[in-house]
Amino acid sequence: MPIETFHYDNRIVRQFAVATVVWGIIGFLVGLIVALKLLYPEFLGGIAELSYGRMRPLHTNAVIFAFAGNAIFLGIYYSLPRLLKAPMWSKKLSAFNFWGWQAIIVGAVVTLPLGITTSKEYAELEWFMDIAIAVVWVAFGWNMLATIFKRREEHLYVAIWFYIATFVTVAVLHIVNSLAIPATFTTSYPIFAGVQDALVQWWYGHNAVAFFLTTPFLGIMYYFIPKAANRPVYSYKLSIIHFWSLIFIYIWAGPHHLLYTSLPYWAQSLGTVFSVMLIAPSWGGMINGLLTLRGAWDRVRESPVLKFMVVGVTAYGMSTFEGPVLSLKTVNAIAHYTDYIIAHVHLGALAWNGGLTFALLYYIIPRLYNVPLYSKKLANYHFWFATLGILFYVVPMYIGGIMQSLMWKEFTPEGVLRYPNFLQTVTQIVPMYALRAVGGSLYIIGALFAVVNLWKTAKSGTFQAEDADSAPARVVHTTEDTTQPFHRRLEGKPALFTVLTVFAILVGGIVEFIPTAMVDSNVPRIASVKPYTPLELAGRDIYISEGCNNCHSQMIRPFRSETERYGDYSKAGEFVYDRPHLWGSKRTGPDLHRTGGKYPDSWHYLHMRDPNSTSPGSVMPSYPWMYTRDTDFASLPAKLDALRYLGTPYDEFATGDEAIAHAKAQAAGIADALKAQGFADADPDRQIIAMIAYLQRLGADIRRASQVPAK
């Protein structure tokens, strides 16, 4: 058999490495800004583009899609060709993948602060960005699959199974969750409403964690741990079982984000049980990673790469145990909406994704420059700063989260809430926010050590633009070797492998979604629930733009402590016109689902301009620009058309002009009443008026209902 010689492209690897580091630092810094804003609400205040509700999604998107995203490409573009003994199929597609992805990130950095957002967590980018993401992602997958098809290695290694699962699942999740009708260039309405929208969103949101932050990193682990430790993988059999069970089970677990909400109860229970069943498949990965290091622990002490790997994999094991525990409804009742969840995700993000990414960089960069790492000592400092930073981040947030929950639920012996003023529960945990900011800062300092170290390493060597390798061409068998076990044969059939993967990841979503969408009893209608008026709709879109949902939920759970504080628990039928749903996932501020009528318009008028005036010590940002910026009345006809197309009954307004006139009349009513109460500057055209109209509508429909069917 003739031996063929070929070259791996290191340029694309270096490009992704640089992008990973640059976006990582930016993403961390934005996170620190957001953390500081909860300590000093005035910090960078008064600038709409930099307000909390707009910056927080920028932080999450930057660390997930820019930092971890580039790290995934970095790991794949390095390991995939080497595992297949074939260079990437197309350098052009590689370049398109790289520049396309960076362009999307830059687009996010521009659009999110501008308030161009869908509000759906980790899917905030608007429709035109979603299309770009789909195109670039498919280009990546195409390049990867084409490389697989022209491989020289007969079988696909376990890392590649995880890469394939990543590609197909993220494509499916992204496309389905982004299905929306654009109304204007900057607004779109999802094709699903209320409960269905929430289910699709968390099917996506949970599996973004699974297939963006887990499976590609498991693939990376399976390549870099054995390479760095020079040890064989512990158990091939475990690889097979944990791979298939992981991807099959993960997809079902989304509803654990919606326990005790208006999601049908059976779907919630599926979320719980599949989450519990996820422990073993997740731990299978951890075990295989850690046991691969048996007998190599001396090397772990020596090597920064392995140190970061070990901490990362261990944290992965901890998070994937904690996650299922949080999915038990009794535990979830305590932890949901609190900062406990923020600690949970940061354990995963900082230790598992961050740890593996830095391990990856410390492994690859010296090899690209053909020199040893500039300073092992500095890398060790990085390691300790990162570890301490993680502890200082998560421990206070765990404590703060539990404190929050206990305060929300505490009753006095007389049977009234101990902390009826929500703000009291916020100010008590502000010291924890301060410690969290310290932890984050330590982590960033550590990351800056890495930047220096990697930079110096690069300076001290010469860049190897290509690595040469050689291997015999792959023999294409015409008959199957049936003596081989089934899975071994499957590893030689990438097309079949991909099809089976798609099948495995589709089942759970279909079983949960179809009945929720099709069976009426899952979302009982409530006659008094009517569509938003045009002005309220405009206000709702402002709420979305400003990202109020980053601090406020709109979902009252059926607990005494919540119905006492907020009013009757939320019913599925109340959300049928909510596109998108705005249930939220964290309560830094109180729930707003029944805030309508709780305060007079004048209160909101004072509060939104300066929350401290009505709520001394509030951490809610002030929104002075709502008092100078105009409501976008002109786009209302287009918005109503889009919603009408999706089935919202807006028959009342025969023409667009009628809708605008209706909105203006409602705004004038609110502004006139405010003027009469002494707010001389109340102007019907300003955003604040639309905002107030929306806030006063929240929960109002059900109060009109004489009889509310139980859920």
């Binding site: 390549y223 475990l238 059976w266 229970s269 009753f411 006492e564």
Partner: protein, 198 residues
């Protein structure tokens, strides 16, 4: 590659090799396999308990039970927390420190939002000056708080709302104790509507 750890009987090195990475033929750890089965059985039992056998309560049933339990000790008909005291409440301004403190806590939890932290007035009127829209005696004040002024933006707090009569009196007493305290940023009197207290 050293062979020391692989010659253990379990550690069979497979003939797989990818870019130098080898794989061992170790079985899956037993405790792991058992753990996996355990979670599967747990899952089936959980679904059976809540959805097939109907032995587990639904989320709404849990809620109703929680509300019943909260109501049980006082045996009252209303929402928990709003049960009226057994004996009718005397309508007099209380002056003992304990009652005033209770009133202050209630005020700080809810009323501050519209009347200011020290009663100085915000979207609601100043409650510390000697002027009132709806009277300054105990009956009028309790009525004001009990029924609220829904058309002006103050919800009703008594009569099935979040507070019982005892609490209304504590609140009114606390407000009465604030009379003449002259807080900072006091809201000016609206002479057209507010009348001097006798």
């Amino acid at each position: 590659m050293s062979s020391d750890i692989y010659d253990d009987e379990k550690d069979v090195l497979l003939d797989h090799e990818y870019d130098g990475i080898r794989e061992l033929g170790n079985p899956m750890p037993r405790w792991w396999v058992l753990g996996f089965w355990f979670t599967i059985v747990f899952g089936l039992a959980y679904l059976a308990h809540y959805h097939v056998l109907g032995t587990g309560p639904s989320d709404v049933e849990e809620y109703l039970a929680e509300m019943d339990a909260a109501r049980a000790p006082t045996g009252g008909p209303e929402q928990p927390g709003t049960t009226e005291p057994a004996a009718p409440v005397q309508l007099v301004f209380l002056t003992d420190q304990a009652s005033l403190d209770k009133g202050k806590t209630l005020y700080g939890g809810i009323c501050f939002a519209c009347h200011g932290a020290n009663g100085e007035g915000l979207v609601g009127p100043n409650l510390t000056d000697a002027f009132a829209v709806a009277g300054c005696d105990i009956e009028s004040m309790v009525t004001s708080i009990r029924k609220g002024f829904p058309e002006k933006g103050m919800p009703a707090f008594g009569g099935g709302g979040p507070m019982n009569d005892q609490q209304l009196v504590e609140l009114a007493s606390y407000l009465h104790s604030l009379q003449g305290s002259n807080p900072a940023n006091a809201k000016p009197i609206d002479p057209a509507r507010e009348l001097p207290c006798p």
